[in-house]
């Protein structure tokens, strides 16, 4: 169901982030707005406590060699997730108008 598309580290042509459907597909340094967490309730709550809340802006940062796991800037802190988890975090498609910056609430 979820595309296991490999994420480039911002070296190639910058893709339109509206095409990134999940957090795992979002290129490094580009902002995405979280829409929903397609994860079991207890895991989703754990991530929500860390700031992965619907409506929050998330910016992928540096990663381990090979791109997995990757650090995400979210709600004022940095949290690393494995790709398998990040690919369950679905982004909002209508975020084209949002400025691509790490907004801290």
């Amino acid at each position: 169901m979820v595309l296991q598309m490999s994420v480039n580290n911002g070296h190639g042509p910058a893709p339109n982030y509206a095409t990134a459907r999940t957090l795992a597909q979002l290129p490094e340094g580009e902002a995405g707005v979280l829409d929903r967490l397609e994860l079991p309730d207890d895991i989703a709550r754990r991530l929500m406590e860390l700031g992965f809340l619907p409506g929050h802006i998330i910016v992928p940062a540096r990663s381990a060699p090979g791109g997995n796991p990757r650090v995400y800037r979210v709600d004022g802190s940095e949290v690393a997730l494995r790709r398998e988890t990040a690919s369950r975090l679905i982004l909002r498609l209508s975020n084209r108008s949002k400025p691509a910056e790490a907004s801290l609430l």
Binding site: R46, L53, G55, P69, G76, S77, L81
Partner: protein, 646 residues
């Protein structure tokens, strides 16, 4: 309380145990999210007056300490200690993890051995107040006197952030203190709060803001945002130095290289760097026990003190420099923030074995000694990953196996060149044993994670704290604590086992003289186990050695020395010759395999019991490792005997 639907807050509202106020200690609990500086504050308030244990029956670390009140308001009558309880770092009180359950139980006063707290210190990272304030909602709904501590005040200021503490205090209905726990700024406000509440002079004000429904995380986060806005909270700029350092430490090429250098440095230090210190300590212990022996008349007591306790406890205490160096390293890595980056880099490799990045440093440490390695697993928040790491750590080739390996390899394996002059058969055999232990460890990890430790659904989540300078104070306290834990065990469990073994070797007394080892109780045990170990190629003498090595692996070398009447060291030529004439090659290789797998270490069992909160896991681990050792040694002996390799 209309917003509080069957939440943690209501469950907690029970009357405290009705002891007279003066007879009962005044208990203050410190609560806060992970990375809020909770432990730093706890160390600031208690110093060396603290002890670390586990909460009963669980793997959660319990730190309890005393803070001495010495403010002006304290008359002699009121002068007393406050008992501080450091609770595990949590983001909420929803009891999903062991940490959250423990926190709830302590706050409700239902945790055995810990009275219900009289007051709370809620510590939050003020550089990330929006997210951290979420925890304030469930804590304030407990209606206990609470000081809201905004930590990292220095970072907030230097990065251009701002908060109006007076406004925040009136919004929350609780006093607010802006401090820097690592620098000690503002600590006096925490003392003043504890003095005030313990003297009963502090009054509770109701919060001006309405507390949110606790189960609704988006709503709680929104509430925290509104409270922050009300207190003119302005979030600081991103930590510029952390970004710059991450550009190096998490660089696609430089990052892994730095990681390898750090790991090699840790490995080199705990092996080579600790060697002179360990040799020095060994010499000191030997001289000490000899000096003591010369003072005492020859006899049973001297033999027990010098040969038994001196050698036995000495052989354990000698690992102290290694343990201290390792914890100095881990302390620097953890406090600086690099450990999280190392865990990130190591994660993919560790995931192949069913483990995670944070298991890496403990497993590397286990090459020195499983005891500090198991203590180091405390940095792994995920309980199942932590348990898996604890259970496989003793397979790593620890330095106590080296004397045994050295003796047997030197006695039975000819040092012919294998790969040129620098890598001979003996070195190859030693390397093979290291590989054997490593393979057993990862095979066991995979087995565990695909069976009993499988059901864990929690994802890998790793917070990246900003880089900070480690403080000498925090490093020092850590070293003192770890040494105390280690020495206490050496002085209790190990001492007891050593005395029992000594008694077994020296009884029954014949004509007022201790018996020959063959006629002693230990000899009888050796003869009794002989039928069981015969298929492995071991005789009763090896049997005594195996029984004695349950205390610590290297003890077998000394025991075999006693049995064969030779010098009991791994360099002893006489002992090598005696073994060669008494043990078949199959038995010798089987003995090496047995030591690679068997859990011959009381210290490790004791520390596993302590870290897992019961005898269940160490018992299972002992059974599994002994069975594996027996079966593999059996196969080895049969294969070598059948002459496939000759």
């Amino acid at each position: 309380m209309s917003d509080c639907h069957g939440c943690a807050g209501c469950a907690v509202a029970e009357p405290p145990p009705s002891l007279p106020k003066s007879a009962r200690p005044y208990v203050v609990a410190i609560i806060g999210p992970p990375n809020s500086g909770k432990s730093t504050l706890f160390n600031r308030l208690t110093g060396l007056r603290q002890k670390v244990a586990n909460f009963p029956g669980v793997t959660v670390e319990q730190r309890v300490g005393k803070a001495r009140m010495h403010g002006k308001g304290m008359t002699q009558h009121h002068h007393r200690d406050v008992v501080l309880v450091d609770l595990p770092g949590v983001y909420s009180l929803n009891p999903r993890s062991e940490d959250e359950q423990v926190t709830r139980d302590v706050l409700a006063g239902t945790m055995p051995g810990i009275p219900k707290p009289d007051a709370l210190l809620l510590i939050l990272d003020c550089t990330n107040l929006g997210r951290h304030l979420v925890l304030a909602a469930p804590i304030l709904s407990l209606k206990l006197p609470t000081l809201v501590i905004l930590n990292m005040a220095d970072d907030l200021k230097s990065r251009g952030g701002h908060v109006n503490t007076a406004e925040l205090a009136s919004e929350l209905g609780s006093p607010v203190a802006l401090i820097s726990a690592s620098k000690g700024q503002g600590i006096e406000k925490v003392f003043q709060f504890m003095e005030g509440t313990s003297a009963g002079t502090a009054a509770l004000a109701p919060p001006r803001v309405e507390l949110p429904v606790l189960q609704d995380i988006p709503r709680c986060r929104q509430w925290a945002h509104e409270v922050g806005t009300g207190a003119a909270y302005h979030a600081p700029a991103p930590p510029i130095w952390t970004r710059r350092l991450d550009a190096v430490f998490l660089h696609p090429i430089a990052g892994p290289l730095i990681f390898l250098v750090v790991v090699a440095g840790v490995f080199q230090t705990i092996f080579a760097g600790a060697k002179p210190l360990m040799d020095g300590l060994q010499a000191l212990i030997e001289h000490g026990s000899q000096w003591l022996g010369n003072l005492l008349p020859a006899g049973v007591f001297r033999s027990l003190l010098v040969d038994g306790i001196g050698h036995g406890v000495g052989s354990v205490v000698v690992f102290l420099p290694q343990i201290l160096l390792l914890f100095l390293f881990i302390g620097i890595l953890e406090d600086s923030g690099y450990l999280a980056r190392a865990a990130l880099i190591a994660d993919r490799t560790m995931a192949k074995f069913g483990l995670q990045g944070k298991s890496f440093i403990p497993l590397i440490s286990a090459y020195a000694c499983a005891v500090p390695a198991i203590m180091a697993t405390r940095t792994i928040e995920n309980k199942r990953d932590r348990l898996a790491t604890i259970l496989i750590a003793p397979f790593m080739t620890c330095s106590a196996r080296l004397p045994v390996y050295t003796l047997i390899i030197a006695a039975f394996i000819a040092d012919r060149p294998l790969l040129g002059h620098f890598f001979g058969m003996q070195a190859g055999a030693l390397l093979g044993l290291y590989v054997l232990g490593f393979v057993a460890a990862i095979a066991t990890a995979r087995l565990l994670k695909s069976s009993i430790l499988k059901s864990e659904r929690a994802p890998f989540v790793l917070e990246m704290p900003p880089y900070r300078w480690p403080t000498l104070r925090s490093l020092g306290l850590r070293l003192v604590d770890r040494s105390k834990v280690f020495l206490r065990r050496a002085g209790t469990v190990i001492l007891a086992v050593i005395i029992v073994l000594w008694v077994l070797e020296n009884l029954p007394v014949k004509n007022g003289q201790p018996p020959e080892i063959a006629d002693s109780f230990a000899g009888m045990i050796g003869h009794a186990v002989e039928p069981v170990i015969k298929p492995l190629g071991f005789n009763w003498k090896i049997g005594i050695g195996l029984v004695s090595s349950i205390a610590a692996r290297e003890v077998i070398v000394g025991t075999l020395g006693t049995i064969y009447g030779k010098e009991g060291t791994s360099e002893s030529v006489g002992l090598r010759q005696a073994l060669r004439s008494d043990l078949s090659p199959g038995g010798a290789v089987a003995l090496l395999v047995f030591f690679a797998f068997a859990m011959q270490c009381m210290s490790t069992l004791a520390v596993v019991r302590r870290e897992t909160g019961g005898w269940k896991w160490p018992a299972a681990q002992f059974a599994y490792m002994t069975l594996l050792a027996y079966l593999c040694a059996l196969i080895t002996n049969q294969v070598v005997r059948s002459g496939i390799f000759s």
